[in-house]
Amino acid sequence: MSTRRYLPFLVAAVLVLAVGAVPALRADIPMADNAYIGSEACFDCHDQAELNMDFNIHMRIEKFEVLGREVGCEGCHGPGKLHMEESDPAMIRSFAAEEGYGEQVCMECHSTKNLYEWSASTHSIEQVECQTCHVMHKAKTPDPNKACVACHPDTVAQMQLPSHHPVREGQMSCSSCHDPHNSREFMLKTRMRKADLCYTCHQAIEGPWVFEHAPVEEDCSICHAPHGSVANNLLVANEPTLCLQCHDFHFHSGYRASDDLELEIGGIERENPWGPQGFNIAFTTNCTGCHSHIHGSDSPSQTTPSSGRGLIP
């Protein structure tokens, strides 16, 4: 292993030391001379909020779940005593008031509750706020797919292409593969290689195999477009174009067949609908018609000269 491999770690360490010298600041939330009064007191005035929040998870969680922090209205909005006494909107946390304020409050609980990586996520870095996707005063957060479409319309549009995962049919959602709160590559829900996420549902492909196909071992997305494609099986291009990027045609494909419309093959009269282009069409139309184990196989191909490597059972 060469020393160049450690270069990114070295650069990062230097950056860490440099940045660490800058003191951290934390936005203050007004707490002085205040006290918690309970959600019921809030609902005396905010009756519409009571209706909306009746089944909200934030009204159902208990203090022990968030390591003793306050729950209910004041879990997010802070103590309400002064706000109630003086009817002053300035005396309570308002999430529309300041950019990034909501995230800080949410993370007070969620940094140790399921959203461990949020602060390192691309969404957080890009200032996507919690309220962008979540509706706090409803019983449930909207359909995850609808939350994503606002910023990722082209990706959602790809789901409408002829070959797609069953997202638009409701059997999957964006969050089946992506966790919008994590800091991983493409926010994928895997802690290993990208392919390991695919293996969650397609374990049959992982092998390990005796006869491998190198791009399968490299990266599924060399051949597949997971969000949707025009070509069948989520392929980035139709066969044989997809395969011809790396592979030569069979030598047979250059031969010309006969013009005869009827041929005797193996003692059987057969049609010859393709005429002289027969070899071209047979060997350049659908590679996986013969190479059906394109993801790998333990069965050797029949011919000795190929040493069984043709991925044909």
Partner: protein, 581 residues
């Protein structure tokens, strides 16, 4: 349990659970609250032609649709169900419940039909040149290839009140694919005879996992284990190959170049070996008082094939740091580094070598006739050491001017055996980018991203393409003096790839949100090429533009419309003999 029984049970669940809850409500009206929304409708779908192309995952015909969203909160817990049922093999069900918030459970049952399509293979029909042919036989021309897909998933957590820093999670996932799919096999020599046949499937993947998390103000530590078993039944199907005959004479008078044929009897093909995958992981996050978040994890995984006793090992380690700092936390810094290695055990392939049974090569193997050794030691192309690093520095000006972010992604993939250029197994890539996201005016949101990437020796097939620039024309393999098959492989001297050595990515998005409507315009462009191949070039360009409109003129009335334009160009070299490479 068959699909009808599952359907019945699900309907019963929908009816009985709220019923039971409502019954309880009558006994203790003050502690149980239920809100439910049930929609009943009719669906109707008809298809002309091939339903697998336009209705891959949906039923066709007519039937009722039931959609329910029910939540009930009691003194000692809650139940929350959301589901949609079309048919016995098309439904989604989500059920969550908790007991005293100490035990929390989320459960999912999804069932759908997946049409696989039936490839007619008729492009193989009757190609011949002096009697040498490729032809096909569909043994089950009327079969409809489709599977029932079923996924059941449950994840449960226990967080004791007295030890709320600890959370114990455990789950089970059961995925099944039952049905019939198409399988092809090919017999060689006299002809390339492609045969299609039914392949029953009864695929089952089960995951059992558990983890333990210890969380506090300082962060968390978690350790987890998951084991996965995959099986299919039958594991393989029998197939009898044609007799290997001389292509010209259709007699056994020639060197035998197949490992097995009719004389070998039925062979087991299309192996789907049972596999077991065990994964153990430890991860944790430390949130320092100075605002640093430091996360680390280790993952160790082993996947084992039960058929050929091959094992694949993964060992990965990750370290990440991030911090917001400066006045009003305007500066942001993030770095993630990961190192992992993958190794698969070697496997010696001992090719079956038949002897010619007649003619001048009688009693000789292919190896003896052509001095060609077909045996080899398979060394896995999966084996590799990888290091990747992703670093960001961002600065937030204010709400109007937004956030400017600079990115640097680095990856080094050092493969143990697979060469991506002659004598080279390593790919190094760097990607630099800048992004700007802002809210320039009330209701407006914009985001622009520009990235440039460069890779040395990207994934590439060495000697996978034929080139008339380098290879001398080979004779007909059917003529007596012709080159042999492996010699044609030797004539492939050019590189082939579908991976870029340099690329540009640009994305721009703007959204305007009014009181009851929003409009979003988005443009995405990606352009990459690889001109470092020895004799072949490759390039690809994708771009998409979309406009979406959303409006909610009344609280329970929403509509949405979108239009997307996609453009993709692939420039690759299809070499001889069809085209001049």
């Amino acid at each position: 349990m068959n699909s009808k029984m599952r359907y019945l049970l699900t309907v019963l669940l929908i009816v009985l659970v709220p019923g039971a809850l409502l019954a309880q409500e009558s006994e203790s009206e003050t502690t149980t609250r239920t809100e439910s929304e049930v929609e009943i409708g009719v669906w109707d779908t008809s298809v002309d032609g091939s339903p697998d192309l336009v209705l891959e995952y949906e039923p066709d015909g007519t039937g009722p649709i039931i959609k329910a969203d029910i939540i009930s909160v009691m003194e000692k817990g809650s139940v929350d169900y959301e589901g949609e049922i079309l048919t016995s093999n098309n439904m989604t069900n989500d059920l969550g419940f908790d007991f005293n918030r100490v035990f929390r459970s989320s459960n999912l049952l999804n069932i759908m039909l997946h049409r696989l399509g039936h490839e007619p293979l008729d492009h193989f029909q009757a190609v011949t040149n002096h009697g040498r042919v490729t032809w096909e036989t569909d043994n089950n021309p009327d079969s409809e290839y489709e599977i029932d897909y079923q996924l059941f998933e449950t994840w449960n957590e226990i967080q004791p009140r007295g030890m709320s820093n600890l959370t114990f999670g455990f789950g089970y996932r059961d995925q099944r694919r039952d049905g019939l799919r198409q399988q092809t096999a090919v017999s060689h020599c006299d002809a390339c005879h492609v045969e299609s046949m039914d392949r029953p499937m009864n695929e089952k993947t089960t995951d059992i996992g558990a983890d333990l998390t210890w969380a506090g103000e300082w962060g968390y530590v978690r350790a987890g284990y998951k084991t996965r078993d995959y099986s299919d039944s039958p594991t393989s199907i029998p197939y009898t190959y044609d007799d290997a005959l001389h292509p010209e004479l259709r007699t056994p008078l020639f060197d035998n170049r197949v490992q097995y044929d009719l004389q070998s009897g039925p062979q087991e093909i299309d192996f789907r070996p049972d596999t077991t995958k065990d994964t153990f992981g430890v991860d944790g996050l430390w949130a320092s008082r100075t605002g640093w978040n430091l996360a680390a994890e280790g993952i160790w995984s082993e996947t084992k094939s039960d058929y050929e006793d091959i094992t694949s090992d993964y060992n990965g380690y990750l370290l990440s740091l991030n911090k917001r700092f400066g006045e009003e936390r305007r500066w942001g810094f993030r770095w993630r580094g990961r190192a992992y290695d993958v190794s698969v055990s070697d496997f010696f392939v001992d090719t079956i070598e038949q002897v010619g049974i007649a003619g001048p090569q009688a009693g000789k193997t292919y190896r003896e006739i052509y001095d060609f050794d077909p045996d080899f030691n398979r060394q896995s192309s999966r084996n590799r050491d990888v290091i990747d690093s992703k670093a960001d520095v961002s600065y937030r000006f204010n709400r109007t001017l937004g956030t400017l972010r600079f990115l640097w992604d680095y990856e080094s993939v050092d493969r143990e055996h697979f060469q991506v250029a002659p004598g080279t197994t390593k790919t190094t890539s760097n990607e630099l980018g800048v992004s700007w996201s802002a809210r320039p005016a009330k209701g407006w949101k914009t985001n622009v991203l520009l990235k440039f990437g460069d890779a040395s020796d990207p994934f590439n097939g060495v000697n996978t393409q034929y080139s008339i620039l380098e290879s001398s024309p080979a004779g007909s393999p059917f003529a007596p003096e012709a080159a042999q098959y492996f010699e044609f492989h030797d004539a492939r001297v050019a590189e082939g790839t579908a991976s870029p050595e340099s690329w540009t990515r640009f994305q721009a998005r703007g959204t305007y949100t009014g009181n009851t409507a929003s409009v979003t315009a988005n443009y995405r462009y990606w352009d990459g090429d690889n001109t470092s191949g020895d004799l072949t070039d490759w390039s690809r360009m994708n771009q998409a533009a979309s406009v979406t409109l959303w409006s909610s003129p009344a609280p329970r009335w929403q509509w949405y419309a979108g239009y997307t334009w996609n453009d993709s160009t692939l420039d690759t070299v299809a070499t001889v003999p069809l085209f001049d490479g």
